[in-house]
Amino acid sequence: MTGSTYITDFKTDRGYELKLNTGLFINNEFVGGDSQIETINPATGKVIAKVEAAGEKEVNAAVDAAEKAFEEVWSKVTPQKRRDYMLKLASLIDRDHEELSQIESLDNGKGISLSRGFDVRELSECIRYYAGWTDKIHGKVIETEGVLSYTRHEPIGVCGAIIPWNFPLLMFAWKLAPALATGNCVVIKTSEMTPLSALKVASLVKEAEFPPGVVNIITGYGHTTGDLLARHKKVGKIAFTGSTAVGRLVMKAAAESNLKKVTLELGGKSPNIIFDDADLELAIKWSFRGVFFNHGQTCCAGTRIYVQEGIYDKFLEKFKAHTQNTPIGHPHDESTFQGPQISQTQYDRIMGYIDSGKEEGATVALGGKRWGNEGYYVEPTIFTDVKEDMKIMKEEIFGPVACVTKFKDEEEAIRLANDSNYGLASAIFSESNKRCIEVSKRIKAGTVWVNCVNVLHANTPFGGFKESGIGRENGEYALDNYTQVKVVKMATTMSP
């Protein structure tokens, strides 16, 4: 079967024409899988296309391709040349920015203005950022008596990645870029729910003339394809972003196979703390963005909103009013902020949580129902009168559902914020310099946003405390995930 067999034509609901190769991308070629998976348009529930899915044979082929490419080619390419390949890829992504945005919105359901303005832009910036690191990965020379000691920060070889459906291109970039920059070859499994945009990037990888086997992109179900990759003995490291439950399985697979290095970006139930000396207008705008961005399908969503009692009523009133105006609509309409949730399963899960909130006695202050008649839309929902032990306060909903409650003082806020098994992110709103610094020291979370939320940069680290994960992505810190340290100690044969 040749690669051309898998070329598929399709259109967005607004008539933008697309053509993609839906095979598995292995060794710079598109090949068949052992089965096909249908990817659904979440705005309509209809099938967009069928993609090839990887079984054991294909996973092995991808890993073998990566291993061969590493041993024979990539490990001999200079850091400068690695940089040039990555910059070329970034340029091609910039060239095809619109097409990538259209595919992302079609497959994932996010608003086209967001795909364009955020997801695809960040993909390019992330790759450019890490292209800048390739020739700056330094070992150390350490003074030791009688011996010349130095360290090398070497690539691992073959790195696997399993990425989710909520930010397909962004999550792809966060894994691909540091892995390549440090000299590794990769096998990336995309989510079977959003396989298309990475396949477009695959064609750009080939156009950028990366040596075959350096970048391999496959898809399939987590419990089959993902599991095979997580337990493959030739994969030296696995990077996973997804739910905490599946993160445990990945770690288990690594433990049972070859003790491959593991980094995990898992779930969260991030607290957003609004003190009575906060700039209220700012706090509302950011809080809204914190929970409702990407339809609530964000691991770091600020879903528990703690408001100091003095401003609680005012906050709630304005927050409701602001949320009421959420531009919900079709993903390919320019003004859409909130599109559909990714799938029927996710939709059902979110509605299930909303029901449990009602059953456990919380008040639906806004929303709580399906939106429209077509697609997996959920109204932006606000719960009040919540108790800490309610499911909606403890468990990650991954939808447009916010819980708002009040607190008395700083001590209580910090205690409540930290009372979670998660620790991915947090936000503080206050005008007091002292309070901002002090509270940010005491919150147990990998990111603390002060007077803002969900502000990400390619050069700052991101990752969780506690059960929100292991390891950091982005910034210089991510380089450690993809390198291993070797120390060389050279003794001389002459007397010192």
Binding site: W133, D135, K136, N459, E476
Partner: protein, 496 residues
């Protein structure tokens, strides 16, 4: 003094080029207030064209432009954006590589092929390397006590001055511009009045790449007028100088009497190459010859002293002389030329004078020593033997294609002591097949760069800079960034 900016010149190969001859300030070419300076073609001894020169008044204008640009615009540009501009600049240099090479060749005398494939290729790599650093300049957070919050910022200096020499015009420019701009500074650079043309072509690329006006300013003029005004300017926060040790002292003095501006000096050298009995002599001869004859010996780190173990001295000298004989001296515009003319009559005269001094001192003129042809400042690759460290030939920097060879009879300690017996300490070479010799000699040599079994191997990611009177401060690599930054500690008390 007026002359219109654009002049037409003709290369020795008959190609017509249009060049800018006015000062580049605020992204525009403007006349200078100084006299027009004749720019001589060292291959033909004829005037290429005249260029404008800068007086103290022009220096003030340039510095003010840089200061305003820094304060109002450049300091507010995002770091990643600085990286984008530097990468764009590199792309444009690549596009115009041939023209830049021709300008370098006509003005400096180096072969077009060398200018293109080494100088300008090196520049392109240098801009790309430092582009990658722009968004990776990290301060630290330092934990002291719970009630304190302390961090450092690595901030740009503001306006940086640079005075560069004529031996590698564009490359010396790149070594200063790239880290200065990546770190967020604005720059005023004085090029050598002997080689002003290529920098003005480069200036057009600065504008085309999109650098805001005033961020990069390029002027030329005599050292004692333009250079000293820049070195003494109170609004220039740092001076980076490459040139002779004598002028370096003047730059340092100017700083001491003006505003104590930070300094970086890349000065002269009399670097020693050590050839041990167990060296691969043929390979060593090739490398060592390149080490002195590269760039017609007009290289601060030229390996101009060679100490070879007496047991292999005859064999090595024969092999070395074969290399010297094979050097093709000729017109820079001939594709197989390795060595063009020396840059000026003054340099030519100085070198010929040293050749006479060497003979007067009792060294053996083993090969070369004469002018080549009767037009242009061409000198034969020259070899002196039976030299010792007491001779001026071995103590003073000649800056021409003249090597002084001496011998040693003992072990690595004797060889290293001979190498270290100099006020200079820029570089050194070690040729040996023995592991321990390589380590011990390179540990003990007082030189900023030690080349083992090679010479003149440069990489944009590896620092370069001298010990002792060869200067202080590092160019290239991460180390260069520190030269263009200042560290601020911010100490906040949060509990009292």
């Amino acid at each position: 003094m007026t002359q219109s900016d654009i002049q037409t010149i003709v290369t020795q190969s008959g190609k017509e080029l249009k060049v800018h001859t006015q000062l580049f300030i605020n992204n525009e070419f403007v006349p200078g207030n100084g006299p027009l300076i004749e720019d001589i073609n060292p291959s033909t001894e004829e005037v290429i064209c005249k260029v404008h020169s800068a007086t103290e008044e022009d220096v003030n204008t340039a510095v003010e432009a840089a200061h305003t640009a820094y304060k109002k615009v450049w300091s507010k540009v995002a770091p990643a954006e600085r990286g984008v501009l530097l990468n764009k600049l590199a792309d444009l240099m690549e596009r115009d590589q041939e023209e830049l090479a021709m300008l370098e060749a006509i003005d400096n005398g180096k072969a077009v092929s060398v200018a293109r494939d080494e100088d300008i290729a090196g520049c392109i790599g240098c801009y790309r390397y430092f582009a990658g650093w722009a968004d990776k300049i990290h301060g630290k957070v330092i934990d002291t006590a719970p009630e304190q919050h302390i961090y450092t910022r690595h901030e740009a200096l503001g306006v940086v001055g640079a005075i560069i020499p004529w031996n590698y015009p564009l490359m010396m420019g790149a070594w200063k511009f790239a880290p200065a701009l990546a770190a967020g500074n604005a720059v005023v650079m004085k090029t050598s009045e002997l080689t002003p043309l290529s920098a003005y072509k480069f200036a057009t690329l600065i504008k085309e790449a999109g650098f805001p006006p005033g961020v990069v300013n390029i002027i030329t003029g005599y050292g004692h007028i333009t250079g000293s005004a820049l070195a003494a300017h109170p609004r220039v926060s740092k001076m980076a100088f490459t040139g002779s040790t004598g002028t370096g002292r003047k730059v340092m003095e100017a700083s001491s009497t003006s505003n104590l501006k930070k300094l970086q000096l890349e000065l002269g050298g009399k670097s020693a190459q050590l050839v041990f009995a167990d060296a691969d002599l043929k390979h060593a001869a090739q490398q060592a010859a390149a080490g002195i004859y590269n760039n017609h010996g007009q290289n601060c780190n030229a390996g101009s002293r060679i100490f070879v173990h007496e047991s292999v001295a005859k064999e090595f000298i024969d092999l070395f002389t074969e290399q010297a004989k094979a050097v093709k001296v000729g017109c820079p515009f001939k594709e197989d030329t390795f060595q063009g003319p020396q840059v000026s009559k003054a340099q030519f005269d100085k070198i010929m004078e040293y050749i006479k001094i060497g003979q007067d001192e009792g060294a053996t003129l083993h090969f070369g020593g004469k002018r080549v042809g009767d037009k242009g400042y061409f000198i034969q690759p020259t070899v002196f033997t039976n030299c010792n460290n007491n001779m001026r030939l071995m103590r003073e920097e000649i800056f021409g294609p003249v090597v002084a060879i001496g011998t040693f009879s003992g072990g690595w300690e004797e060889a290293v002591e001979l190498a270290n017996d100099s006020d200079y300490g820029l570089a050194a070479g070690v040729y040996t097949s023995d592991h321990s010799t390589a380590i011990k000699a390179s540990n003990a040599l007082l030189a900023g760069s030690v080349w083992v079994n090679c010479y003149d191997l440069f990489n944009n990611s590896v620092p370069f800079g001298g010990y002792k009177q060869s200067g202080f401060g590092k160019e290239l690599g991460k180390y260069a960034l520190l030269e263009y930054l200042q560290v601020k500690s911010v100490i906040t008390l949060i509990d009292w």
